[in-house]
Amino acid sequence: MNSFDFVTVSLAGKPVETITLAANQGWSILKPMLFQSIAQTLEMVFITLVVGGVLGLVLGVILYGTRPGNLFENSVVYRILDIIVNIVRPIPFIIFLAAIQPLTMKVVGTSIGTAAAIFPMIIMATFATSRLVEQNLVPVDRGVIEAARSMGASTFTIIRTVLIPEALGPLILAYAFLFISILDMSAMAGYIGGGGLGNFAISYGYQKFDPAVTWTAVIIMIVLVQVVQAIANMLAKRILKRQK
């Protein structure tokens, strides 16, 4: 049973020594691994959130701006981007991870490990963010944008100083939502040896029949989500209060 575990896990790219030690399932051994998993999760989530978040913001603004009647209206570009986003978004991440592997190999140089997990996460996060951004920009009052245009503001200035600030409250909430989606994605990174809390829960909790380990990971994730959501709510509330 144990040896079978070793084979599967080491196939997924885990250093064999770690696995051997883990077989003992003592908290003195699990603890540093847990901390390492938290660090890996935070690394993956943070990098994805920043890079995917920024790329998604750009793509989202382009989606919004090319919509009919908007800042740089272009129905051809809009339709193409819209279709691409619609194709990528519904793919379950675990399948996307596998499907995009050849590209990951080319770009990152490896198809296993944390870095190999971050690449598909960034791509998926970019598309997810773009739609969230677009949807939260649509309700921005066009009159306000027109006012800025009438004052001689350039398109980029309008995006930077009017469009995004006006939608900032909902955008913060959208990014909190995105954080949770990325955390969700990071849990699947274990399948390609990405490490992190999800992998920790599966390898040392689920597969070792140790619910305490699984639940430790789950609770840490819940706390992470709660903290991020609480901060986002507070920031968004402060901004939205000004507007209403």
Binding site: G143, E146, S150, G152, A153, T157, L168, I239, R242, Q243
Partner: protein, 407 residues
């Protein structure tokens, strides 16, 4: 008249319509010239194309054909970056104020200054100056959501004036405000026009707004300018039915048919309505002149000794001159009354509704004033309900019609 600051030359604006193959024509061949220092009122119902028209002045909309000259520059061919310096010389205020909701009042007003790369301390000084001008000093650090509608529009005005523009475009700027606040905002706009010499183009569907501050008016309907002229003339001698309807919402001195029926029920004597025009009105489109009216009525009443009851009426001023109508019941010897009306109608427009026993059909009374129509050259004038000038040439026979009726 001073120099033209805005000139629209055969401007057409078409929008693609989704269901129909034919494009929708929002602005249809409009030629208009607005002078420096004008408060130019453009009035029309919603959908008349006036918002599109005003947006072509700062090129928020581009004309499909025709040309637009603003501040001596042909702006038709300019691209967005070429337009930026021009737009900084044209302020704009909006019906929904369009303030930046996440910026404070002071930040809103400073926005155009930031765009214009003003130095920080200059910005502050200018913002304080503007806050003082619009009377919002104590609200500098509030957000727009904490202000009333009137205060929001004051912020909008301050923001529009920040870079010392030469033109202020007001797009239904008072339509979302209550009457009292509307008055305050209009006073402020008038002050801006008079003190700062800013040319104002005012779009509205409220006739009392243009009545209060406009010196020139254009009336728009279905994308066309159907009537234009100095404010007094448009009010005193409207030609188009739509203009008359608009004027009736601001000055309602002429009784409607129901009211005339009521009046006949209550008053047995001869009912006449005398139009009041303090001075001649000149129509800009065809140069016809409608002379003043009702200026000697008190003297004539005294001269003939007719007994009068003033029973209905309304007089208001446009650009400082009186316009309106008065309805009298005349009692006494019929021959004296006829003599009085004969002399009165020589210099005034008089509608004769007859007496309770021998009333005159409303449309006939309105379309055929006593003594004929007064416009010269022979053109229709006054609020005639028929709305066209067809009767003008036959004013003689119109009189005989009336005599038959009365007999």
């Amino acid at each position: 008249m001073s120099e033209a600051i805005i000139e629209l030359d055969h401007v057409v604006k078409e929008f693609k319509s989704k269901d129909k193959k034919k494009p929708m024509r929002a602005v249809d061949d409009v030629t208009l010239s607005i002078n420096k220092g004008d408060v130019f009122g453009i009035i029309g119902y919603s959908g008349a194309g006036k918002s599109t028209l005003v947006r072509m002045i700062n090129a928020l909309e581009r004309p499909t054909s025709g040309s637009v000259h603003v501040l001596g520059q042909d702006i038709t061919g300019l691209n967005e970056s070429g337009l930026r310096p021009l737009r900084r010389k044209i302020g704009m205020i909006f019906q929904q104020f369009n303030l930046f909701s996440t910026k404070t009042v002071a930040q809103n007003i400073a926005y155009p200054l930031v765009l214009d790369h003003w130095r920080k301390d200059y910005q502050e000084r200018r913002v304080n100056q503007l806050l003082k001008f619009v009377g919002l000093e104590e609200h500098a650090n509030k957000y727009p959501s904490q202000l009333s509608g009137g205060q929001k529009q004051r912020v909008g005005i301050a923001r529009a004036l920040a870079t010392n523009p030469e033109i202020l475009l007001a797009d239904e700027a008072t339509s979302a405000l209550d009457p009292e606040t509307t008055g305050e905002v209009l006073d402020l706009l008038q002050q801006i026009n008079r003190q700062l010499g800013v040319t104002i183009v005012l779009i509205t569907h409220q006739m009392n707004v243009v009545q209060k501050i406009a010196n020139r008016i254009a009336v728009m309907s279905d994308g066309r300018v159907v009537e234009r002229g100095d404010a007094y003339s448009v009010f005193a001698a409207p030609k188009q039915e739509i203009t008359k309807r608009f004027i009736a919402t601001a000055i309602s001195g002429i009784p409607d048919p129901e009211r005339v029926t009521d009046i006949h029920r209550q008053w047995s004597g001869r009912i006449v309505t005398v139009l009041i025009r303090q001075k001649d009105a000149r129509n800009e489109l065809d140069n016809s002149v409608v002379p003043s009216s009702g200026q000697n009525i008190s003297g004539l009443i005294a001269k003939y000794g007719v007994s009068t009851n003033l029973i209905y009426g309304g007089i208001d001023t446009v650009t400082g001159y009186a316009i309106g109508a008065m309805t009298y019941e005349l009692a006494g010897e019929p021959s004296v009354i006829d003599g009085f009306l004969d002399e009165l109608s020589r210099d005034s427009d008089v509608y004769d509704f007859g007496t309770a026993q021998a009333s005159i059909d409303y449309d006939k009374a309105i379309s055929m004033p006593l003594g004929g129509l007064k416009a010269h050259p022979a053109e229709s004038n006054g609020p005639d309900r028929a709305g066209d000038a067809d009767n003008t040439a036959e004013s003689g026979s119109a009189d005989s019609d009336r005599e038959e009726e009365q007999a």
